[in-house]
């Protein structure tokens, strides 16, 4: 059996998918819903989504939670990636991106982000692949 593509997903991908239901990011969520790939995000991404939806778009707690629950994502807790945080922080200019990189290092998975430049350093790309939605969709099409 061919192993499924597994990627660590950045928050901007979820916002883009919600914004444009026919765009590449939404296509990725649809493919994950059908079991064509595995999407994983750290708990920080879940918290970011929740706070942003509530504070900036006035979602109620229930609305924010139910929206997040619909995302075809495996959420991983801090305890899972904590051991890789320091290494991730040392590699990144924007330290606040560390939970995403730490999760990728821990799970040996690529990173799917709309903000590639934050991770686009040779020291990082030799450890993990940084992918765009378009690139992921091309990989999925090849495996269909």
């Amino acid at each position: 059996m061919v192993p499924k593509i597994t990627v660590i997903v950045d928050t901007n991908i979820y916002f883009s998918a919600l914004y444009d239901w026919h765009g590449n990011e939404a296509e990725i969520l649809k493919a994950a819903g059908k079991g064509e790939l595995i999407l994983i995000s750290p708990d920080t991404v879940q918290e970011e989504l929740k706070r942003t939806l509530q504070r900036k778009l006035n979602y109620s707690t229930e609305e924010a939670n139910s929206t997040i629950k619909l995302l075809p994502t495996i959420w991983i807790p801090r305890s899972e990636y904590r051991d890789f945080l320091l290494k991730a922080e040392n590699l990144l200019e924007h330290k606040e991106d560390a939970p995403i990189l730490a999760s990728a290092l821990k799970l040996k998975a690529g990173i799917l982000t709309g903000n590639k430049k934050h991770f686009d350093k040779p020291e990082i790309t030799k450890l993990t692949e940084i992918l765009t939605s378009k690139e992921i969709l091309q990989i999925i099409k090849k495996t269909r």
């Binding site: 928050t11 916002f15 239901w21 969520l29 079991g35 920080t44 970011e48 929206t67 619909l70």
Partner: protein, 82 residues
Amino acid sequence: MVSTITVSEEVRRKLMGMKLELGYRSVEELLKAMIADFEEKQLEKASESFRKKLKERNLTLEGIMRENEKIRREIYKEWFQK
């Protein structure tokens, strides 16, 4: 782990008919696809709601992304820099 559900004869007949017509190997596969379709529709509704709320507040996707970057820094400080 597996478990059983009880359905009426009519529902069973319809499910078997759908399985054959749509080419699924098992009813389990058919039901999984139906669940995936349902969840996709729910997510589409969430997407409509998201766009509506953006419009109501006169916000753009880029604006939301910028706000999220601030919130990311805030969470990082709270959770990891104590």
